[in-house]
């Protein structure tokens, strides 16, 4: 039982990361209907920026915040420079651009910082932090940081005029223009925010998975599974979905162990984690494409 609790709680820590990346995906999806396949690699790049700043002597938190700011500007620039000219292009062209972006981020990071795996520090104090036995200090810190970031975003989108303008622009761009909202800038801002949230995820997860140019590959998949599970059109749902996938992923090993103990056969275990994520993707897409919390818009004519 205690082991189960442990698995669930540490699943929440992974889930927090997936939730962040899932939210980044959804933020871009709701306003453009595109899945940014480069989201993970952009987050990885942000993490390298933080790492580089620390190599130059910055402390963790200054590096963390500067990396977030740089990522915000970077995301905004990518939208303005690369995607803006393509806004009437067919979906496939945009998908190709995303994949190109993914490859570019990956190879630039590789050539600048090499493909050697690097250690990434944790900012959370080792002894005083965390809940003894249940969750480690870093994982606990990750959950905390994520909750803070998600709450800030919630407040921003829910209670500020700019947040409202961004939601309006995503929901009905024509009407938003007619309300005087600069819709193009709202999209760019969405990209900036998504990149910033990705940077949080990257710098938080790097201590766990270690820093290398391919660190976000699997995480993007889990995040995608989470976003789909929760509802790709619903930011809140995607966050919940991210947490659920994190917990589920951890339970896979736990259930696998239990089965092996009682029946003596190995069916699933740690090796099948990614499989489970992919099964979630396929199942949701075939059974309930709008996801668990995907908003069903009530519309009268």
């Amino acid at each position: 039982m205690e082991q189960l609790m442990q698995q669930v709680v540490s699943g929440l820590a992974n889930g927090a990361i997936y939730a962040c990346v899932a939210l980044a995906l959804v933020m871009i999806f709701v306003s453009t209907d595109h899945i940014n396949f480069a989201q993970g690699e952009m987050a990885m790049f942000s993490t390298y920026i933080a790492w580089q700043l620390m190599q130059w002597g910055a402390g963790f938190w200054p590096a963390f915040f500067i990396a977030i700011a740089v990522s915000f500007v970077g995301g905004l620039t990518i939208e303005r420079v690369i995607l803006r000219p393509l806004h009437t292009a067919p979906v496939l062209s945009i998908v190709v651009v995303f994949i190109g972006l993914l490859a570019i981020c990956n190879s630039i990071a590789g050539s600048v910082w090499s493909y050697l795996i690097k250690e990434f520090p944790s900012p959370f104090p080792k002894d005083t932090f965390g809940l003894a036995g249940l969750i480690g200090p870093h994982q606990f810190g990750v959950v905390l940081v994520t909750i803070v970031v998600l709450s800030l975003l919630f407040v921003f989108f829910r209670f500020t005029p700019l947040g409202l303008a961004m939601r309006a622009a995503a929901q009905n761009p024509v009407s938003a223009r007619l309300a005087g909202v600069r819709v193009d800038w709202m999209l760019a801002l969405g990209w900036g925010l998504a990149a910033a949230v990705g940077a949080v995820a990257g710098t938080m997860v790097a201590h766990i998975v270690y820093l290398d140019p391919n660190m976000m590959g699997g995480i993007l998949l889990y995040a995608f599974a989470g976003a789909l599970l929760g509802g790709i059109s619903n930011p809140g749902g995607a966050v919940l979905g991210g947490f659920m996938v994190g917990v589920l992923e951890n339970l896979v090993a736990f259930i696998g162990n239990a089965i092996e103990k009682s029946f003596g056969v190995y069916i699933i275990g740690n090796g099948e984690k990614l499989t489970v994520a992919l099964i979630i993707v396929i199942t949701v897409l075939t059974v309930k494409p709008s996801g668990l919390f995907g908003r069903v818009v009530v519309k009268r004519v």
Binding site: P161, L164, A165, R167, A168, Q171, N172, V174, S175, A176, R177, L178, A179, G180, V181, R182, V183, R295, V297, V298, K299, R300, V301
Partner: protein, 237 residues
């Protein structure tokens, strides 16, 4: 009375297709001008062309300055409120959010508050539904919301695209009565596109009749209203 909006030889295109072939008309300060005509005459396109939502040629002059070629958002910020065909409701936002987004560009909080009170006075029903998801409102309520959103912009000119569309006659009457009040109380000039010619001619002071992207007839509303030939040939009643 001075002219607030002057449209000169306006042409509009959807891709290769030309929808307006040089439309000219003017709107007087504080006046209501209506554009009449059958389906496909170019009424909606004219409104869209004024706001630069389609590719256009020709000129649009607002308070003596050409606004053609400016971004839709910028034109709106100059004082245009376009109530689009289909009402343009933000369906997933609440009624309150729909109204607040319309006032997004305004910094004068006191004036916004005053306009919000005015909106609720015109349409008390919206106050009752303030926290409701706007997509769940009835057609009439959504039309009220659309006009209210336009009011919250604090506009000089309102462009109204078929406010009577799909609504029960009683609701239409209520909405037109309030449009009359808005025109006099909020000192807002109006350019009204309508299928329902009788209704529009009662409200407007000037009328232009469009046919396949051209103005074929124009004049003061009562003249147009009482001209048997115009009525039979173009207005169909």
């Amino acid at each position: 009375m001075t002219t607030v909006l002057e449209v000169k030889d306006l042409k509009a295109y959807y891709g290769q297709t030309q929808a307006l072939h040089g439309v000219s008309f003017e709107l007087l300060e504080g006046g209501i001008t209506t554009l009449l005509g059958a389906n496909g005459a170019g009424k909606t396109t004219t409104l869209r062309a004024i706001c630069n939502m389609v590719r256009t040629e020709g000129d649009v002059v607002f308070q003596g300055r050409s606004i053609r070629g400016q971004a839709t958002e910028s034109i709106v910020r100059l004082g245009f409120a376009h109530v689009p065909e289909g009402r343009g409701t933000f369906t997933t936002l609440t009624v309150d959010e729909n109204l607040r987004i319309a006032a997004y560009t305004r910094s004068d909080k006191a004036a916004v508050k005053r306009d919000l009170d005015m909106v609720f006075e015109y349409f008390p029903r919206l106050r009752e539904r303030i926290q409701q998801q706007a997509g769940t409102l009835s057609g009439g309520e959504q039309q009220m919301l659309a006009i209210s959103r336009a009011l919250m912009l604090g506009p000089r000119v309102m462009l109204l695209d078929e406010p009577s569309f799909g609504l029960a006659p009683l609701i239409v009457q209520e909405i037109f009565r309030i449009m009359r009040r808005i025109n006099t109380e909020a000192k807002c000039s109006m350019l009204l596109v309508e299928q329902n010619a009788a209704l529009a001619l009662d409200l407007a002071d000037h009328a232009y009749v469009l046919e396949t992207g051209r103005v074929v007839m124009s004049g003061p509303s009562d003249v147009v209203k009482n001209d048997e030939n115009i009525r039979k040939s173009y207005l169909g009643y």
